[in-house]
Amino acid sequence: MADVSLAPPRRALLARLRPPRLPIAVALALAWVVAMVLIAIFADRIAPHGYTTLDLKNRLAGPGNPVHWLGTDELGRDVLSRLVASIRVSLAIAFGATVISAVVGTTLGFLAAHFRGAVEQAVLMLADFQASMPFLIMALSVLAFFGNSLPLLIGLMGLYGWERYARIARGLAVSAGAQGYAAAVRQLGATPARVYGRHILPNIASTLIVSATLVFPEVILMESGLSFLGLGVQPPMTSLGNMVGWGREYLTRAPWILLAPSITIVLTTLAVSILGDGLRDRLDPTLR
């Protein structure tokens, strides 16, 4: 009899330890994103050639070439190596920008929730303003005024989407502030920074992470758009949008130059979006 009564809890424990079953689309998306991150980290070791190395004998070689698997561009540079280098740059910019925008947005949201009144109105107005202006136009204006550099580009992309974090963080912090645990630590004499950083932030982090995965693909698209226009990442550095922009000149003669980065952009944004949707369903049903 004893083992009969023990069986259900043990099964429940096993079920809890087993990794949750993923839908196929989410699993594929996760695999793609992990692959992209690994490629970005180990770009130097993976790339078969230097991404600026010229091979003038093999200019515009087609894909399937034994030396250059994905072919070469107009200067004989290896498309695969350039693709790998571009993935690193594009992901680094998108990641840096997402972190900046999440930190800025969350901080402003907390400030609005803490001080209320005029500060809150100012933050909300800025958020409205940011949401109502097309980001591309603002980004282009700033680039026109200040010229172009990589830190500026990352900082600029870091402004993308901050208003969404700010609104979410403000809303959640206001409701969390009314709950017992925040009031309790405040009564114990915790500073506001401690209340928000150590107690409220961990409680609302899942929602913010979900928003970040939803903003991330948009940042990739925005950066690749700017780089495509020749106003984002500048040569000799390369990014996915950059490759498409330069490859456009050879659209008829060498479409592979442009197709490789294009497919990478589409699959990566798609994968991160699917992952974001999956995370949202799992972590935060309120965002649906």
Binding site: L140, A144, V244, L251
Partner: protein, 311 residues
């Protein structure tokens, strides 16, 4: 209702003032305007004279007020490239851009909204999944990739349509389709979720429970209420009519405002960039006001004299 609109109008003016301030601050932070306009070869005397004539030796707040006044008079500076007034340069490009963005907007509305409604009414079925899969694809493919792939298929391989230029209406087909697809996808997604939200409301159940035919429930109860959030996103699309084609115009070498902006940014032609920025802000603010006005019509709670509980 009137108070609501008045409040919104004030807020719109404040937004424009904010953009003007943004332009002023960025302009003053970026470089000495005298050096930018006169060029690095200008002599110190010329620069001093220029500063005096443009009031650059005044305190910063006087400059700020003057800047505001100049913009209110429509003086937006001259292009550094050919010395023509920036506003003229921008204005002559607007028709070309509208020739793309207006049909594209019609395409977005004509395809996106019905597709979203259709998917929401068949929630969970093959139709819903197919529409949503297409919507996600349309949303994740950047417009420059879509444009170039369309060129590759329809211009290079099939030779049916021209790949760039602006001679006949045939040239506009690919750019319009490129812009329309992305917008239609976004709109379909948005309309679907707005409809699903409304269809889950108790008043829909009430209406169908008291025997109203389903088609009428959709037409009279669901659609008008789902239109309220959808109008917001359409308003944003209307606001981007003038400069929403930056990437697509570059792909198809279309001589519109977007192309002008990209060239001006690359050459750091600040007067032109500033002019476009202010123009976009003004259209955006106007379309937001229009949206607020439409809300007044669509949402009975905001309509003056509406009886309580009309729906």
């Amino acid at each position: 209702m009137l108070r609501h609109l008045l409040f919104r109008g004030l807020r719109a003016l404040l937004t424009v003032a904010l953009v003007v301030t943004f332009a002023f601050v960025v302009l003053r932070l970026s470089a000495d305007p005298a050096l930018i306009i006169l060029g690095p070869e200008a002599s110190p005397e010329m620069i001093a004279a220029f500063r005096k004539s443009w009031g650059l030796d005044e305190p910063i707040w006087v400059q700020y007020v003057d800047y505001f006044r100049a913009i209110l008079r429509g003086e937006l500076g001259r292009s550094m490239r050919d010395g023509r007034p920036a506003i003229e340069l921008v204005a002559e490009r607007i028709p070309a851009t509208l020739a793309l963005t207006l049909p594209a907007l019609a395409l977005k509305l004509g395809v996106g909204v019905p597709a979203g409604i259709w998917a929401s009414l068949h929630r969970g079925t093959v139709i819903d999944r197919a529409v949503m899969a297409m919507a996600v694809a349309g949303f994740t493919v950047p417009s420059f990739v879509l444009g170039l792939v369309l060129v590759l298929i329809f211009s290079v391989r099939l030779g049916w349509l021209p790949s760039g230029g602006q001679d006949t209406w045939v040239h506009a087909v690919l750019p319009i389709v490129t812009m329309g697809v992305g917008g239609a996808a976004a709109l379909a997604r948005f309309t679907r979720s707005a409809m699903l939200e409304v269809l889950g409301q108790p008043y829909i159940r009430t209406a169908s429970a008291k025997g109203v035919p389903w088609a009428r429930v959709i037409r009279d109860h669901a659609l008008p209420n789902a239109a309220i959030p959808t109008v917001t996103i359409v308003g944003f699309m209307v606001g981007t009519l003038i400069a929403g084609a930056v990437v697509v115009e570059s792909v198809f070498s279309w001589p519109g405002v977007g192309r002008l902006l990209v060239v001006a940014v690359a050459n750091r032609d600040l007067a032109v960039v500033q002019c476009i920025l202010l123009l976009v802000a003004a259209t955006m603010v106007c379309s937001n006001l229009l949206v607020d006005f439409l809300y007044g019509f669509l949402d009975p709670r905001l309509r003056q004299g509406a009886r309580a509980g009309a729906h």
